[in-house]
């Protein structure tokens, strides 16, 4: 169990539009829980919300956002945070989070998970913002390690060290995306197992699994394919090492039929032992 006493929910999948019909059809669903992209449900009262409320009656739901912009130098978007809190309370989510990144600055949004330079100054900046957000939301924030495609000359420490200090100093929880560890380490010539061995596991409440695109010189976190063997091996180590962490399979591009996701869920369960 993690230090936040958040439960191991088993293995879940993302709630995505192509599966709305299937997940509300009454057919048996061989998954343990669902994760939503928070922003997809903040501005709708239509079918997405109707489906979400139906799913929530039968399954735990976790909110995972892409727009908190926690690493930015822009002011926090209080309207956005208030909308997140309303949705979290309405759906009674198991937990909620976002990414260790920035998405925009100067009041412009790049709609991407841009990397933060891993410096002492950025660490102090992000820690202070996480504390404020956790105060506003009234719950721990669960932040995910990103896939990154560049490093900055200003970086003063490895990503895993920076994220560990961030989590400890802000007292927040972590979502350890195993595929992102693999992609980032491949892109920057690092050893993913060495990365995993430095993770503060008592703060990790969730894992992500996904497929990526390997371009030879670099990998892109595309979420459009099966989980590769190397990531499965890292994931198996994580589950053995920790005794079990709630796991979410992401598949966002070329989304296949639901039974394909259930097949990946079955493989994840096998590796959880």
């Amino acid at each position: 169990m993690n230090r936040f006493d958040l439960p191991d929910l088993g293995v879940g999948v993302g709630l995505r539009v192509p599966h709305f019909g299937h997940v509300t059809s009454g057919a048996p669903l061989h998954v343990d829980w669902f994760e939503i992209i928070s922003e997809n449900f903040l501005t709708t009262e239509g079918r997405p919300m109707v489906v979400l409320e139906q799913v929530r009656r039968d399954f735990p739901v976790v909110m995972h956002g892409v727009s908190m912009n926690i690493g930015s130098t822009d002011p926090l978007d209080l309207d956005y945070l208030a909308a997140l809190k309303r949705l979290a309370d309405r759906i009674d989510v198991a937990w909620m989070g976002d990414h260790v990144c920035w998405t925009g600055v100067a009041h412009r949004n790049g709609h991407d998970l841009f990397p933060v330079p891993y410096t002492e100054a950025s660490l102090a900046h992000v820690v202070e913002r996480i504390k404020r957000v956790q105060g506003l939301l009234g719950r721990p924030l669960v932040l995910e390690n990103p896939s990154t495609y560049l490093t900055f000359a200003a970086d003063g420490m490895p990503e895993v060290e920076w994220i560990t200090r961030m989590a400890e100093e802000a007292d927040c929880a972590l979502l350890l995306d195993v595929n992102n560890v693999y992609v980032t380490c491949r892109n920057h010539g690092l050893d993913p197992m060495a990365y995993l061995q430095q993770v503060p596991w008592e703060r990790v409440v969730q894992n992500h699994l996904a497929g990526h695109t390997d371009n030879g010189t670099h990998c892109i976190d595309t979420h459009d394919d099966y989980v590769c063997d190397e990531v499965w091996a890292l994931y198996a180590w994580v589950q053995r090492h920790t005794g079990g962490i709630a796991t979410l399979l992401e598949w966002d591009g070329n989304v296949p039929d639901f039974d394909v996701l259930e097949g990946e869920v079955r493989l994840a369960r096998e590796r959880r032992g």
Binding site: T43, G46, R47, V50, V105, A106, L150, A153, A154, T217
Partner: protein, 288 residues
């Protein structure tokens, strides 16, 4: 044109403003790096790109930044092409992409949700001096209204029995309460034929420039659109604004918009259409 980005005050702020400018430039990364330099956004103390992004033995700094620059436009293009399929169909793939780049130059996204990126698009298209783009602005309006209808809350709907149960002497004071998903649009172009061509995947003619009115609604969570006559639009608008049927008809007659003797014979049929289409949530009379 969008306001320029001000230089950052701290090293972190400088780095972020520089990177955002570089990877979101409408003409690509190279132009973005040049613009960032010209606009004073380059991080303090950095003379070359590798002073900011060192790169590695497999990818140069430019190649690493290019991953983000490519993703920025590709993501927005894919989202807006999915949101505005008839607009994209009318303009064609290449022209749609060019239009988007110019639009994003003038209206870079400032919203956390991708749903709102196209909010300023109709008004912007109208001001570009391109007749086809002006016509496309009305297609964007309809497509955005259809998305808005999709996201409206569910509600009950009146059925034909409710309409039939209305006593003849209650019609004048009856009020129609419409479902939250109903949207009315008054347009400068007859865009529905082009939208239907897009739906069927056949070439679309440029929409004719003439006044047109459209209702957008949804049935069982499926987005729908329907042409309206001008009297229908005016009557619906008055009813949506809270007028009783008698008040709405009187208002139209007094405004000289519609001849009442032409209007009255059609109203019963319209009501049936609106009720059967699921536009009406409830019909009330002063007696309840």
């Amino acid at each position: 044109m969008a306001d320029p980005i001000e230089p950052g005050r701290t090293p972190l702020d400088q780095l972020q403003r520089w990177m955002l400018r570089a990877v979101t430039h409408e003409d690509g990364l190279e132009a973005g790096l040049v613009a960032a330099r010209a606009e004073g956004l380059w991080p303090e103390g950095a003379r070359t790109l590798s002073d900011v992004v060192p790169g590695n033995d497999r990818l140069s700094p430019e190649e690493q930044l290019q991953i983000y620059a490519y993703a920025y436009f590709a993501r927005l293009h894919d989202v807006l092409a999915a949101e505005l399929p008839a607009t994209a169909h009318l303009l064609g793939d290449e022209a749609f992409a060019s239009m988007l780049r110019a639009f994003l130059r003038d209206h870079p996204s400032a919203t956390y949700t991708l749903d709102r990126v196209s909010e300023p698009l109709p008004a912007w298209l109208e001001t570009q001096g391109e007749p086809l783009w002006a016509a496309a602005s009305d297609i964007v309006r309809v497509e955005r209204a259809m998305d808005s209808a999709f996201d409206a809350p569910p509600s009950g709907r009146a059925d034909a029995d409710a309409l039939a149960a209305l006593p003849p002497d209650a019609w004048a004071t009856a009020r129609l309460h419409f479902v939250p998903a109903l949207r009315l649009l008054s347009l400068d172009h007859d865009v529905l034929p082009a939208m239907e061509a897009a739906r069927q995947g056949v070439p679309a003619e440029a929409p004719e420039r003439r006044a047109a009115w459209v209702a957008v609604y949804r049935t069982n969570f499926r987005r729908q659109r329907s042409p309206l006559s001008r009297p229908q639009f005016l009557l619906l608008q008055a009813l949506l604004d809270g007028a009783s049927l008698g008040e709405a008809l009187e208002g139209l007659a007094l405004g000289g918009d519609v001849a009442l003797d032409e209007l009255l014979p059609q109203v019963g049929g319209w009501f049936q259409q609106w009720v059967s289409g699921g536009w009406v949530a409830e019909i009330t009379t002063p007696r309840g």
